[in-house]
Amino acid sequence: MTNERSESEDGAVALEMGLNEQSIERRHKAVTLLPEDLARIARIREAVARRAEEFGKSFFDYLAGLDDARDFMRNAEAVHRARQLKIEHLAAMVGGNYGMEYALQRLKLARVYSRAGLETRIFLGAFHHLLRLVGTAILKSARSPEEAFEDFMALKKVAFFDIGIIVDVMVFERERVIRRQQEAIRELTTPVLQIRDRLLMLPIIGTIDTHRARMLTEGLLHSIRVNRAKVVVMDVTGVAAVDTKVANHLLQTVAASRLMGAMVIVTGLSAEVSQTLVNLGVDLAGLRTIGDLQGGIEEAEQLLGYQMSRIDRPKVAGVLSPSN
């Protein structure tokens, strides 16, 4: 079941990376893999395929000897799976077919590596060790050193083709994690909350750049329409630094909201921030600002015609009236 799922994921990754027949063709061209190379590889097929298991074992023994690969080697499941795939790889490497199926096999192995946290440089070291073993085997079985060298160079083209795919996949996987996290952060940090009928609150936390300001404004404008908001309280207590650019973004958000018929109250400009703004000469005259969030909400309620009053006896015992 997990295998099936990871297989369909492999396909998705290949698709997302743009790994297809054409790009594989281009990759072949990049390492100049020619028909005569295939003939040379066919010559050494027997010698390498016979010892695939032994070479595979040596590859992992080599990794086991490296401190930096310790975390990877501790992951027994991944190592087991990688070992299987590696032996298949060695057999396929001299198999003569380097099309889509072969590339997908490389991709699968690379994803096992990257999920188990094997670093690219460590992998490259071990792969080099493996090539040396294969080279030695070729030298032994060849009729002359010249022939052995040529055969090995042919195989090396395939090896570099493999490295190209594997490194690309490992980099892609790492970038994917980053992309996913960025998306999560973006979604988390721009909530628009309705706190009363027709009153929205927009707490902004962190730094505002152009991209985020855009997302923020778009999100707010849509919420204004969906919730039929008349007043928005925008709280910038959590914005560490407000400079000319950020102030400009805020002004734009406010202007856009106003075009949709909603009034924006900005709250939470701290003493330092307001001093900086004054020093920078930023004109916030177009903004309705109130010191803190509480004040902003009170003002908004008043604008909407709400009248807040406290009932005499607090419902929570001990709060505000300890004697009762």
């Binding site: 404008l221 039929r228 958000t253 856009a256 106003r258 949709m260 018929g261």
Partner: protein, 122 residues
Amino acid sequence: MSVPILRQGDVLIASIQVAQTDEDLRGLRDQLATEVGSQRAKGVIIDVTALDVMDSFATRTLRAIAYSSRLRGAHTVVVGIQPDVAFAMVQLGLDLGAVSTALDLDDAIDELRARRSEESRA
């Protein structure tokens, strides 16, 4: 295509349904300027919900309508600017100045009513 102007009590409602050429907008401006006087309107509502583009000319014309109606005693409210349109306008630096805006027709009528009662109190 010219925009029909409806009358509801003492409010004129112009609902723009399709994209307007500059010529059309000029026509609307002139027509409203006349009708505010002849119908003795106290309010003008311009509904732009159907517009998905608002350029500088359209913005300027809306502003002109609002200011000239003001001079003739009617308050103008622009309603239904779409989120994307609002964002684009701000990016382009377009501004409706002191013209009132509202989310939809309901809100615009509320706004005009509130303004009226405020004025009568004053």
